[in-house]
């Protein structure tokens, strides 16, 4: 069942009149950003009518085929007039990806946990022409507010939303978070028996297979998922080397909600696998992945992805 959450009346797209040239990021995914005009007055950010190219759909930059929707459950869309969010509330589980993807901070997670437009209408807005729109978004100066780089508190809410999800929601979420980091990630096509990994990251030299444990299945990376990560690497090296070039020491990832406890046998098993086979099994939690995405999208820091290619054990 589809319910529409419009904010304000459904009118033609309203955007700030020029010259709002400065963009103050003070947001969590659920805080409101502010456009600051050259004359000093401020308005809450709103949809700039980029036609959902960031919040709704990945562009060709992800470099892979497959499902390109940003929303892991295909629940999110903008209304036709771009003045509100059209959301399938039965499917949305509040991962916050659409919110973090919006480069202008115009989406927030509302009090009910659903994404909505931060500020759909403002009396000082008038409909912008295409030219104005382009000029505006190109001229935005992004400033990051102090405190935007400390995501732990804000991310805790997102992780709670994710904690009960199963594979069909969780796998695309992981893939789309990785894509947001700029990695060419893709989920395993249904029925692809040649490929045991749950997802893959393409790289010209260091492709990475992913073993994903959905939180509804098991919270922590366990011995079994480490074993599967090893198998994924073996299969990628053996069968998929032309499509997914990789090296033996390139990380094979296992993604889950939590790291195993310090005394778990998983840690030693990872060292054993390195000693016996020269394969690096790396563990990454969804929380760490969110932090990386946050830093890139909100704090505007370029992610350091080189570590992802060759690490062993816990990512942090």
């Amino acid at each position: 069942m589809k319910r529409v959450h419009p904010k304000g009346e459904a009118t033609a797209p309203r955007v700030p009149a020029l010259p709002f040239v400065d963009f103050m990021v003070e947001r969590g995914p659920w805080g409101v950003s502010t456009f600051v005009g050259a004359d000093g007055h401020e308005v809450a950010s709103t949809c700039l009518n980029c036609r959902g190219q960031y919040c709704r759909q990945f562009g060709p930059e992800v470099g892979v085929h497959g499902q390109l929707a940003v929303c892991p459950t295909n629940a999110f869309a903008l209304t036709a007039a771009h003045d509100g969010v059209s959301l399938d509330v039965d499917r949305c589980f509040g991962c916050g990806l659409c919110v973090m993807r919006c480069p202008y901070g115009s989406l927030i997670l509302g009090k009910n946990g659903y994404p909505e437009l931060a500020s759909p209408a403002d009396s000082r807005f008038r409909p912008a022409t295409e030219v104005e729109l382009t000029t505006f978004s190109e001229n935005l100066q992004i400033r990051v507010a102090p405190g935007a780089g400390a995501p732990e508190k804000s991310l805790a809410g997102l992780l709670e939303n994710v904690a009960g999800t199963l594979g069909p929601q969780f796998y695309p979420l992981v893939v789309n978070l990785l894509r947001t980091l700029g990695l060419a990630a893709t989920a395993r096509p249904q029925g692809d028996v040649n490929n045991r990994a749950d997802a893959l990251i393409y790289d010209p030299t260091d492709s990475i297979p992913l073993e994903i444990k959905s939180p509804g299945e098991t919270a922590e990376v366990d011995v079994k998922s480490v074993q599967q990560a090893l198998e994924n690497k073996v299969i990628m090296l053996s069968r998929r080397k032309e499509q997914y070039p990789t090296r033996r020491e390139t990380t094979t990832l296992s993604v889950a909600l939590k790291y195993p406890p310090p005394r778990s046998d998983v840690w030693q098993l990872i060292d054993d696998i390195w000693a016996a086979y020269g394969v690096n099994v790396g563990l990454l939690t969804i929380g760490d992945l969110y932090k990386m995405v946050w830093r890139k999208q909100v704090a505007r820091q370029s992610p350091n992805l080189s570590r992802l290619r060759e690490f062993r054990g816990a990512y942090t």
Binding site: V193, R196, V223, K224, V226, Q227, Q228, L230, E231, K233, V234, I235, L237, S238, R239, R248, D265, Q268, L269, D271, D272, I273, A275, A276, Y277
Partner: protein
């Protein structure tokens, strides 16, 4: 009769068998043993009420034999993984619960005189009274010594018809696993361990409670290569045992510093993985990428070796494992089995040792 009185008087029993000397013991899988004595007699083997009850339980030394790697052993001593074989104290006879018995043949092998045979779907114990000169009141030491002198000359006769009978039992063995009491994976490991010990190979089953050594079975002669085994008596399409054996191989080589040339990995399956399944491919991937040749042993092979009286301690079982291991040369599996079994090679062998499509 003098000897019996001696024993009843509580005096030192005679340790040596004084009756006619056994000359030859012939055993077959589906017939009770036949004992030829010096002279004209030949008798059908019957239960000798052995004091150590080898058909029912292994000795403590057998279940904790050294296998070349430090692995805690599973203390369970019953030879029957399915709990079908019991011991009736008043009569000193083994009892068979035909409901639980799968006819796997381990106890058939364990009976030193051939008083247990493979019937249809279950095993049968010959409990008829021994001939008069095998007096029922002999001391247990007498039984032991007579048995040992019999064992020294025992001859196993093997035929393909009997092998087929055992092959027919394999689906029953596999089907019985999920119904077994307790963890079916543990029972499957017991089937494999018991068949190996039965065939004279030092073997240990891992202990279920041990979280750091989740090895199902390990076997190997002292000083020889040790095999670490994962057991999955399914259709061989499950990837779990391949993953586990890879992890265990890494654990044992790294933590115990066992050189790689002293350790081999094996998976015991119910059937050979079919050629179009993923498991079939993964074995090849592992060999190609990690250089690790995981042997695939169908449980039927181990049960055949056990029931047919092969003594693996005296054969080059592990060295010839390549013949029964996986690979593009899976035709070699069949050749290896034929080499070992000779004329007794079962007619049904293709179903069990050649991957189907």
């Amino acid at each position: 009769m003098k000897r019996i009185e001696k024993a009843r008087d509580g005096r030192t029993p005679q340790l040596a068998w004084r009756g006619p000397q056994p000359r030859r013991l012939t055993r077959r899988l589906t017939r009770f043993g036949s004992i030829d004595f010096d002279g004209p007699e030949a008798v059908t083997a019957t239960c000798l009420h052995c004091a150590d009850r080898p058909c029912v339980e292994f000795t403590a030394d057998e279940v904790r034999a050294a296998v070349g790697i430090p692995l805690p052993f599973h203390p369970r001593r019953e030879t029957c993984a399915f709990g079908a074989l019991g011991w009736d104290a008043p009569t000193q006879l083994p009892t068979v619960d035909s409901e639980k018995c799968t006819g796997c043949g381990v106890c058939v092998r364990r009976c030193p005189v051939g008083a247990i045979r493979l019937g249809k779907g279950t095993v049968e114990v010959n409990t008829t009274a021994p001939p008069p000169h095998w007096h029922a009141a002999m001391t247990s030491e007498d039984f032991a010594s007579s048995r040992d002198s019999l064992s020294a000359v025992q001859v196993f006769e093997r035929s393909s018809g009997e092998a087929d009978r055992l092959m027919e039992q394999i689906p029953t063995v596999l089907a019985a696993l999920p119904r077994s009491q307790g963890d079916s994976r543990q029972v499957a490991a017991m089937v494999v361990r018991n068949a190996l010990i039965g065939a004279g190979m030092p073997a240990r089953a891992g202990n279920t409670g041990d979280t750091n050594r989740r090895i199902d079975v390990a076997f190997g002669q002292p000083g020889d290569v040790t095999f670490i085994v994962e057991v999955d008596l399914g259709a061989g399409e499950n990837l779990g045992p391949i993953r586990r054996v890879l992890a265990n191989y890494a654990i044992i080589t790294n933590r115990e510093r066992i050189p790689k040339n002293r350790l081999r990995a094996a998976v015991v399956t119910g059937e050979y993985p079919r050629t179009r399944t993923d498991a079939h491919e993964v074995f090849a991937d592992v060999r190609k990428v990690l250089g690790l040749d995981i042997a695939i042993l169908p449980v039927a092979y181990l049960l055949l070796l056990c029931a047919f009286g092969f003594d693996l301690a005296e054969t080059d079982f592990t060295a010839n494992m390549d013949d029964v291991s996986w690979g593009s040369r899976h035709q070699g599996v069949l050749a290896g089995v034929r080499q070992v079994l000779g004329e007794a090679t079962p007619a049904m062998i293709e179903e069990h040792f050649i991957p189907g499509k």
